[in-house]
C-alpha cells in the first residue's frame, strides 16, 4: 500500500486569476513546490485559418490584425508579404519604408505591454502604470496614421500600404521616441532594485532546452541562441539598416527583461534610420482591385514579431481566397513545451513571474 502524502494536491491556476491571462494550467503541488504542470489552452479558439479561406485578400488583410491584438501591425505585415510573394507585384519604395516604420513602432508598444504586465504579475504597481502610460503616446501615432488605436483596419495590405503618412507624422514620431527614451531611463532604475530581487534566478532555461523545445525570439536570445529573422532571413528593407541583436547567457526571468529593454533601444535606432532615409514624394492610396484572383503557387514567409518567429504557409489554386493559410505563431511553443518544463520544481509564488516573463499571447496560441 502506498503512503498518501498529505501535502500533495492539484491546483488549478485558472483564467479568472488576477495574475494570469486567458489560459489555465493544472499544477500538481507538494507543499509549496510544483512537481508537474499541464497546460490547458483553447479558451480563444476561433479557427482562424479556415476563416481566411472564406474571404478574399483585402478582407483577409483586415482579419489578419486580429490574430494577436498586441502586435496587430506585425501580423498585417506578414500576411501582406505572403500575398505579395504569390502575386510578384512591385511594391513602391516609400511603402516599404512605411511598413517597417509601423512594424517597429508596434514592436516597441508590445514590449511596453510586456514590461507593464510583468510588473503587474510581480506586484510592482509603479512599473505597470508607467509602462502603460508611456504606451499611449504610441497609440496616438497609430490613430493619426491609420485611424485606429489598437486595430489599424488593415493598414498594411497586399500591394503596399493603404495611404501615405500625414505631413505632421514625422515630427510627432520623433517626439514620441524622445518620450520612449525617458521611459527606458526609468526602466533602468527599476531594474537595479525591485525587478532584480524578484526575478533573478527564477525560471532558468538553458541553451540546449531552448533549441529542443522550439523557443524563438527574445526568450531564446536570453538563453544564448543568437538568431533573429530580421538578420538571418531578411525581408523588406532590413538589409540596409544597421542594428544589433542583444543576447544574454543566463536564461532566467531577469535576463529576459533585460533583453526586452535592449530591444526597445534597438527598435528606436531603426525607426530613426527609417525616418532619415525615407524617400520624398507622395504615395497614391491603394485602389481596390476588381480582378482579385491570387496566382497559383505556395510560399512560406517568416517574420520576426515581438514575441518570436511567426510564419505563414499560403497555398493558392488561382481563386480569390487562399486555398490553405497555415499560421505559425510563437506562443504555441512557448506555452506548452517551454512553460511545462520551466514550472517543474518552481515555487507556487513564482508561477506568475515565470508565466509573464515568457510573454505569451493566448490569442496567438489558440488562433
Amino acid at each position: 500500500m502506498s503512503e498518501k502524502n498529505p501535502t500533495a494536491y492539484e491546483l488549478l491556476f485558472g483564467p479568472a486569476h488576477p495574475g494570469s491571462g486567458n489560459f489555465s494550467v493544472r499544477l500538481k503541488v507538494e507543499g509549496e513546490e510544483v512537481t508537474s504542470a499541464r497546460a490547458d489552452p483553447g479558451y480563444l479558439h476561433r479557427g482562424f485559418e479556415k476563416l481566411m479561406e472564406y474571404r478574399n485578400r483585402m478582407q483577409n488583410s483586415i482579419l489578419s490584425d486580429r490574430v494577436c491584438v498586441f502586435e496587430a501591425l506585425n501580423w498585417n505585415l506578414i500576411h501582406a508579404q505572403a500575398v505579395d510573394e504569390l502575386t510578384g507585384e512591385d511594391i513602391p519604395e516609400k511603402a516599404r519604408y512605411i511598413r517597417v516604420l509601423m512594424a517597429e513602432l508596434s514592436r516597441i508598444q508590445s514590449h511596453l505591454i510586456w514590461y507593464g504586465a510583468t510588473s503587474m504579475g510581480l506586484g510592482f504597481d509603479t512599473g505597470f502604470k508607467v509602462a502603460f502610460g508611456y504606451r499611449d503616446y504610441i497609440l496616438d501615432i497609430f490613430e493619426l496614421v491609420t485611424g485606429g488605436r489598437v486595430y489599424p483596419a488593415g493598414y498594411i495590405c497586399p500591394g503596399g500600404v493603404r495611404r501615405d503618412l500625414p505631413d505632421s507624422a514625422k515630427d510627432k514620431i520623433r517626439g514620441v521616441l524622445g518620450k520612449t527614451r525617458e521611459m527606458l531611463r526609468k526602466c533602468e532604475s527599476f531594474e537595479k532594485t525591485t525587478l532584480q530581487y524578484r526575478t533573478k534566478g527564477v525560471g532558468i532555461l538553458d541553451r540546449g532546452d531552448a533549441l529542443r523545445l522550439g523557443a524563438t525570439g527574445p526568450i531564446a536570445r536570453a538563453s544564448g541562441v543568437s538568431s533573429d529573422v530580421r538578420s538571418d532571413d531578411p525581408y523588406e528593407i532590413y538589409p540596409e539598416l544597421d542594428f544589433e541583436i542583444p543576447v544574454r547567457d543566463e536564461g532566467d526571468a531577469y535576463a529576459r527583461c533585460i533583453v526586452g529593454r535592449q530591444e526597445i533601444r534597438e527598435s528606436i535606432k531603426i525607426v530613426e534610420q527609417v525616418l532619415e532615409r525615407m524617400p520624398e514624394g507622395k504615395l497614391d492610396p491603394i485602389k481596390p482591385k476588381l480582378a482579385n484572383k491570387i496566382p497559383e503557387g505556395e510560399v512560406y514567409v517568416r517574420n520576426e514579431i515581438a514575441r518570436g518567429e511567426a510564419g505563414i504557409y499560403m497555398k493558392s489554386i488561382g481563386e480569390e481566397s487562399p486555398y490553405r493559410c497555415k499560421i505559425r505563431g510563437p506562443s504555441l511553443l512557448h506555452m506548452i513545451p517551454v512553460l511545462e518544463h520551466l514550472l517543474k520544481g518552481a515555487q507556487i509564488a513564482d508561477v506568475p513571474a515565470i508565466y509573464w516573463s515568457l510573454n505569451i499571447c493566448p490569442a496567438d496560441m489558440d488562433r
Partner: protein, 165 residues
C-alpha cells in the same frame, strides 16, 4: 553548406528532385515510405529547427498533403518537405524521435483539427476543443456557414432573418 550542395546531396542519397524556389527556400516532395529517412538526413545536416507542420486537404484527389518546414541556424536557409497520405484513414509516422516536444505539439494540434494519426506520438489528447463530437473541423467537407446557420441562428427571429443564407 549552401542550398545547391544540399540539393545535390539529396539527389545522390535518395534520388529525389529538390528545387530552389528563391534565395533561402528549397522545396521537395517525397513518398511516404522515405519520409523518416529524409527527415533524419536533413536533421543531421544541420536543419535543427522545426518551424511548422501543416496539412492541406484535397478532397478531389482524396489525399491529405503534409508539409514540414525546417530551418537551419547554421546555414540560414529553409527546406520544405511535402508528402501525401490517404484521406480516409490518415496515418503517418511521428517526427518526435527526431525533434522532440516541438514536433509533438504540432502533431497534437493537427490530430485534433484534421484527424491525422501520428504513430509514435505519446500524447494525442485534444488540445483546443472541449466536448466536441463532430467531424474534424478543418476538413473541406465541413461547411462552417451552414453549421453556424443551423446551430446559432434562429430563423423565426426578425433580427436574424437577413443572416440566414
Amino acid at each position: 553548406m549552401n542550398e545547391m550542395d544540399l540539393i545535390d546531396g539529396l539527389e545522390l542519397e535518395f534520388g529525389v528532385n529538390a528545387e530552389k524556389q528563391r534565395d533561402r527556400r528549397v522545396w521537395l516532395t517525397v513518398e511516404g515510405g522515405a519520409l523518416m529517412d529524409v527527415l533524419r538526413y536533413l536533421f543531421d545536416k544541420g536543419l535543427e529547427h522545426l518551424s511548422a507542420i501543416s496539412v492541406t486537404d484535397y478532397p478531389g484527389d482524396g489525399v491529405y498533403e503534409l508539409t514540414y518546414h525546417l530551418w537551419s541556424y547554421a546555414d540560414n536557409f529553409l527546406v520544405t518537405v511535402k508528402t501525401k497520405t490517404s484521406r480516409d484513414k490518415p496515418a503517418i509516422e511521428s517526427a518526435t524521435p527526431i525533434w522532440g516536444e516541438s514536433a509533438q505539439i504540432h502533431e497534437r494540434e493537427l490530430h485534433e483539427l484534421f484527424g491525422v494519426t501520428f504513430k509514435g506520438n505519446m500524447d494525442l489528447t485534444p488540445l483546443f476543443l472541449e466536448e466536441w463530437d463532430g467531424p474534424p473541423p478543418f476538413r473541406k467537407d465541413f461547411d462552417w456557414r451552414k453549421y453556424v446557420n443551423e446551430k446559432y441562428y434562429n430563423k423565426e427571429n426578425e433580427r436574424e432573418k437577413p443572416y440566414s443564407i
